[in-house]
Subunit: 365 residues, 2 copies
């Protein structure tokens, strides 16, 4: 089945087991150094696993082979999905994942992934690179023993696939929806039944009527997964994850032990992936959306403003609770909130106003 | 005067003179190779010159000094502003500029910079990296002897500073506005007087009433330039340049002569800058806009839909004429148009719908 290709685990909760103890140690020599990179993705998983592989290959290639990165897909080197601890403890040298997987350490890490009604991909990159975000992230990293980097972004996700229409907030009452993370908590707060389910079981649960709705990613993945074949409505926008960052962190001792040019190579490869992953998601989402609209008559629907407004209030609460859960989270939350507040004024008159104007009925091409 | 810092030339037309003939030849040795990078920017010009310097420094650093890039600001190594020819002819090894400066060679190059009502930064990156754009750009590059790369983006620019209100299309009749490139051609077509003026003369022309309006960049540069002090209205959106790409091209023979890891280093450094330049423009635009709104009570105004619609029709004509001006332009234009048409469907339900929902009056933070 084609959709199997698009089945990934549900983050930390999906796989259990202790870290393997038979890890090959990094090789040191005058001419070559090897780093192990553990990822949250199955081998060659589109957009995510392929980005991890490209990142590893790029670093290896740029260094002329003096810094070789060996990429280990999910479960292959470290059995536990807690790759953060594996890297912090030096069991592996780096990970490629999404920060909200490690929110058990501090909720602050959610802000370096994506939070409901938070920042989009380009805003996230602006905040982290030039708005004080990286400094705060480094501060958290120091506590745990890792050096973190932005390493990609999925862009705005979709609201999800629904078998019933959402016309008022009442339509969410009791709705059985699979939406992991903060998004699920938000929907629960407005009355839905948020159901936790590994991605491998989503398809059957929808088909057998155990689920009314499910979130996944966006047109690219959703189309391959086949969700358009078994649900009625495709809702937007994806308020729950407006631009989810991929991240890659390196054990802090390992980072400190690298030469200046190896550090520069790693840092640059990360920034390049941050650009390219978003570009790939956008290009392939565009293509898949057009295929779905042309070949499958997918019924696109926008969440009504009243519903978005109620969800927005709930999102504000959920994010605020996370942002006030410990001193580090509070610090990050304050920086994030200030940037978001100011950024809204700019997006309103830049991209957003531009896109609104571009939709006017003038003739072009 | 502080604003002097923000004076740059007006592209190809601003400086005359032949390419210098006393160029140091690239050094070849077993351990070190030097490349000359000529840029369109004064030394340390914010966002643009600093990106060129960072790019050069990164390549040098990542290579451990085996590939040293020497950055030459505007006018310092090559006297002619036609850096494209200088690199194509091997007078310099690479340039850092904007493709529309070289539209004299083929109008197709405009599509790799920005065209009125065209693609935004993230759409541009998606088209070029994963939508067939790079292949077409490489095809053009081959004809002239250069290998081109995306190397940054300014994001959506502003519509400009005006001393009179634009409420209907009639208000543009006879308006004396400084807007270079396609934007100026578009405004001329709807009745404005498009005036060509080097950036060093804009300020005085506005103050003495010789100009009614001028385009510049966005809040970051505009605030430093001081345009808010001498004009009445700040109009958005910047239909004329919705996401202007910086680019960096390398002489094709030089590119071919580089080792695999040096090529990988250059390619990765370019992609990293594409992410970072946009992030810096966004972060600094956000900050400057908030300063202007708080301290200077700048009067922000949106072009009315009727005006945007009329300008959109004129933009459609201007871009179509350029896109049909030669066979290569036609090929690029067709690819661009298809991507734009499909991308509009995605932006409408992703970033645009998300940002519209984020503006609802819910409580957040």
């Amino acid at each position: 089945m084609k959709r199997r290709k698009f089945v990934i685990g549900a983050g930390v909760s999906a796989v259990a087991g202790a870290a393997s103890t038979t890890i090959p140690k990094p090789a040191f020599s005058a001419n070559q150094r090897e780093l192990s990179m553990v990822t949250s993705w199955p081998k060659n998983f589109p957009g995510l696993g392929t980005s991890a592989s490209r990142l590893g290959a790029r670093i290896t290639k740029m260094s002329g082979g003096t810094l070789k990165v060996n990429v280990y897909p999910r479960g292959s080197l470290v059995k536990s999905p807690d790759l953060f601890s594996a890297v912090a403890d030096g069991v592996a040298d780096m990970y490629h994942a999404i920060e909200h997987y490690w929110e058990g350490n501090t909720k602050a890490l959610n802000f370096f992934a994506s939070v409901p009604f938070g920042l989009t991909a380009t805003e996230q990159s602006a905040w982290i690179n030039f708005g004080g975000g990286q400094e705060l992230w480094d501060e958290i990293g120091k506590v745990f023993g890792v050096k973190p980097f932005l390493a990609g972004n999925t862009g705005v996700q979709m609201g999800g696939w629904f078998n019933k229409q959402i016309n008022t907030i009442d339509d969410l009452q009791g709705l059985r929806i699979r939406m992991p993370g903060f998004g699920g908590t938000v929907l629960k707060r407005v009355g839905a039944q948020s159901i936790t389910l590994p991605s491998s079981q989503i398809f059957d649960a929808i088909e057998t009527g155990k689920l009314d709705a499910t979130e996944w990613f966006g047109p690219w993945f959703d189309y391959e997964f086949g969700l358009h074949k078994i649900t009625k409505y495709y809702y937007y926008p994806g308020f729950q994850e407006p631009g989810t960052s991929l991240s890659s962190s390196i054990n802090l001792d390992v980072w400190g032990s690298l030469g200046r040019h190896h550090r520069e190579i790693i840092e640059t490869a990360m920034a390049a992936e941050n650009d390219l992953v978003l570009a790939e998601f956008n290009a392939r989402n565009i293509k898949a959306l057009n295929l779905m609209l042309t070949n499958n008559q997918v019924n696109l629907r926008r969440f009504p403003d009243d519903v978005m407004n109620a969800i927005g209030n709930a999102a504000g609460e959920v994010v605020s609770e996370a942002g006030n859960s410990d001193p580090m989270s509070r610090k990050v939350y304050r920086s994030f909130l200030k940037f978001r507040r100011q950024s809204i004024k700019w997006s309103k008159i830049s991209d957003q106003a531009y896109w609104n104007a571009r939709l006017l009925p003038f003739s072009y091409g």
